[in-house]
């Protein structure tokens, strides 16, 4: 029991994931700033942001909303993200959870933050948040199928293995999945899926600062918003880690290989950052057709190729 609590709260759960995710968030902001000829924030800026919201700022509860749902929604999101972090990061650190089929659980856990944000948005009673929530819902409907198919593709490539630990082991024994055509296709689709999951441009229509003024999160302030920020940091760590585990044979944490592990995650985050800095926000309709038609086509092709061993 104590071990589980440690897993959940300290390593690789809440504390570790939040701190590493915060650093990655700084990395994302710094790269963005450099691309845009700006100086960028200092390393600790994400943590300053978090602690300012948590300790200094007041919480304003909307009058027309439903306060309990509104305040609990971010907490649900954080639990979902943290549990997902445990399931994703433990196999990466060579600790088997002994849970056969955790990949599907991860898939469900990763949707919890998005759903809780929708819940919070609708509970806030703000029309802009309602539009943001409905957009988020449409976005989930469009990318979740693709994301599930990516996972199915990885399972197909690994020879019907449903747990992340054995998928990593299979890649370590053989070659990483990304070395094949189907692996590359899965990687492309996976990157776009996590781009949408993280709500980064071009898929940030749920927040859409210049349309909805932060949409789903418009009514959040103070500690509840700090929790949302924390959830976002965690998501920014675990989603790239999931891609690294599923397609890039995870991490080898001995000696110089630690550097490679860091580079893998940083590389994926860099890719996400560059995509978000070289694209405008697309319409929700375009996002739906992008995932429903093009990405699904790519993933299905990848799965077919995987069956032929390519």
């Amino acid at each position: 029991m104590a071990a589980y609590l440690f897993y959940f709260l300290v390593f690789p759960g809440l504390l570790f994931a939040a701190v590493t995710g915060g650093v990655l968030s700084w990395f994302d902001r710094k790269i963005t700033a450099r691309v845009q000829f700006r100086k960028g924030p200092p390393l600790l800026q994400p943590f300053y942001d978090f602690f300012k919201l948590l300790l200094v700022k007041e919480t304003i509860i909307p009058k027309n909303g439903s306060p309990v749902t509104f305040l609990l929604a971010p907490v649900f999101g954080l639990f979902g993200a943290t549990t997902a972090a445990v399931f994703i990061l433990l196999p990466l650190f060579n600790i088997t959870t002994g849970f056969r089929g955790d990949l599907l659980v991860i898939f469900y856990l990763l949707t919890i933050p998005s759903f809780s944000w929708i819940l919070g948005a609708v509970a806030s009673g703000n029309p802009l948040a309602a539009v943001g929530g409905s957009r988020e819902m449409k976005l989930i409907l469009s990318y979740e199928l693709t994301f599930l198919l990516v996972i199915a593709g990885v399972i197909a490539k690994s020879g019907q293995s449903f747990d992340l630990y054995s998928i990593i082991q299979i890649q370590k024994d053989g070659a990483p999945f990304i070395g094949s055509i189907s692996g590359v296709l899965l990687f492309i689709a996976g990157i776009f899926c996590i781009q949408a999951k993280l709500g980064l441009v071009p898929f940030d229509m749920a927040e859409a600062e210049t349309e909805l003024a932060e949409g789903s999160f418009i009514e959040y302030s103070g500690p509840p918003y700090a929790i949302i920020k924390l959830t976002k940091y965690i998501m920014l760590l675990i989603l790239p880690c999931l891609i690294a585990a599923m397609l890039m044979k995870g991490f080898n944490l001995t000696g110089i290989n630690i550097l490679w592990a860091v580079l893998k995650v940083a590389g994926i985050v860099l890719l996400l950052t560059l995509i978000r800095n070289t694209n405008p926000r697309i319409r929700i309709k375009q996002a739906i057709s992008f995932f429903m038609i093009w990405m699904n086509l790519i993933v299905v092709t990848a799965i077919v190729l995987a069956f032929f061993g390519l």
Partner: protein, 399 residues
């Protein structure tokens, strides 16, 4: 229709830099109706102008708009010079045109950046504004100010562009041309920008004539109206340039017109500078002793369209009546055509695409009580309130 709900854009919203309120009545994501309220920024400039001398009014009208801050003095100068029936020197004309075109470049770059920001494309935002910096530095070199240049006066300009500064200006122009080419390439060749802006907020030729829209908004729909050609003033008839138009009428066409207009502006500035070398240095203004009685109208093509000033003079040293119409006043009305039926994402970029400038456009707004339809405040009551307050303050001071 019962399930329409209201999406407020404003009075404080990241989409617009200025306070104004757009009420989008939406059915799901689709905008079914739009209403707007301005009046948050009314400063009573027309009234103020009546209490200033002609020389002071230049500084006043310059502050109508922070971005197109030279177009209003331009139009005002045209109006007053019409009353006086004077022709300014060629050197002054060239300098006026150079300032006007430099302003067009910086304003269009500013819009390009903001349009990128509104689309969530912050890289374009930062890059466009970085490229705008040298233009502002140039303004500082020529006029001493980055904004609100204080260059115009009745009968000419206040400062000369010395001939030894010309090579430096040309150098910056070359740089600007390179950067604008880069930006134009980045915007025009991006398939995602195409998919996001093409066919969005379309205004047909008919809409433009119906609403009387002006400037790039009209030119993007293929209506070639440009005060610089239609009612030539300053040095525009003396140099070679063409009116840029596009056919689409959508947001993309508006961006295209603005981007290509910058090249025209650079070319006008270069030609003006060449001709400036041949003129006598220091010959920048003629002395105007007094403004005779009369009515003068002045027009100028601001970056956003036609600026119109009408000045009534009774022969004293300040205008009796000063009427101003900024381009946004007519352009904002086109929102009914461009936004209704679009999704919220498209409506917001359509709102931004006419490059609205609300503080130019502000009129005194009267508030109505929605339930009874009764006017809550009208002009007379507001004046009474203000008079009473002044009286109160005076009484307090006496005590």
């Amino acid at each position: 229709m019962s399930n329409k709900f209201l999406i407020p854009i404003g009075p404080y919203h990241p989409l617009q830099e200025e306070p104004e309120l757009f009420k989008l009545y939406c059915d799901g994501e689709i905008v079914r109706d739009i209403k707007w309220e301005t009046g948050y920024n009314h400063r009573g400039i027309e009234k103020l102008a009546e209490s200033k001398t002609y020389d002071q009014v230049f500084f006043l009208v310059e502050r109508i708009c922070g971005i197109c801050s030279t177009s209003h003095p331009f139009a005002f100068a045209n109006a007053v010079e019409e009353i006086c029936r004077i022709e300014i020197t060629d050197r002054a004309k060239y300098i006026r045109s150079i300032i006007g075109e430099l302003e067009r470049i910086h304003s269009h770059l500013l819009w390009a950046g903001l349009a990128g920001h509104f689309l969530g494309y912050n890289t374009v935002f930062m890059w466009a504004w970085k490229y705008r910096e040298p233009v502002l530095d140039l303004f500082e070199m020529i006029t001493g100010n980055r904004n609100s240049y204080a260059m115009f006066k009745v009968g000419g300009v206040r400062r000369d562009i010395e001939n030894n500064k010309i090579p430096d200006i040309l150098k910056v122009m070359d740089e600007v041309k390179k950067k604008v080419t880069l930006l134009t390439g980045a915007v025009m060749d991006d398939p995602v920008i195409h998919s996001r802006t093409k066919g969005v907020g379309v205004l047909t030729r008919q809409d433009i004539t119906d609403y009387g829209a002006v400037g790039p908004t009209a030119r993007a729909s293929g209506v070639a109206i440009d005060i610089r050609k239609d009612d030539p003033y300053a040095a525009y008839p003396l140099v070679n340039w063409k009116v840029i138009t596009a056919e689409g009428g959508d947001v993309f066409a508006k961006a295209e017109v603005r981007l290509l207009e910058m090249f025209e502006s650079v070319s006008i500035i270069e030609q003006c500078l060449e001709k400036l070398r041949k003129e006598k240095e220091g010959d920048i203004s003629i002395k105007v002793k007094e403004i005779p009685e009369g009515i003068g109208t002045g027009r100028a093509e601001a970056p956003r369209g036609e600026v119109f000033h009408c000045v009534f003079s009774d022969g004293s040293n300040s205008p009796v009546r000063h009427k101003i119409r900024a381009p946004s006043y007519v352009n904002i009305a086109t929102f009914r055509k461009s936004c209704i039926g679009q999704s919220i994402s498209d409506a917001t970029i359509s709102l931004a695409a006419v490059d609205p400038c609300y503080c130019c456009t502000e009129r005194l707004a009267a508030a109505y009580d929605e339930a009874s339809g009764k006017k809550i405040f009208n002009a007379r009551e507001l004046i009474e309130l203000s008079v009473n307050k002044t009286r109160l303050l005076r009484e307090q001071q006496v005590r």
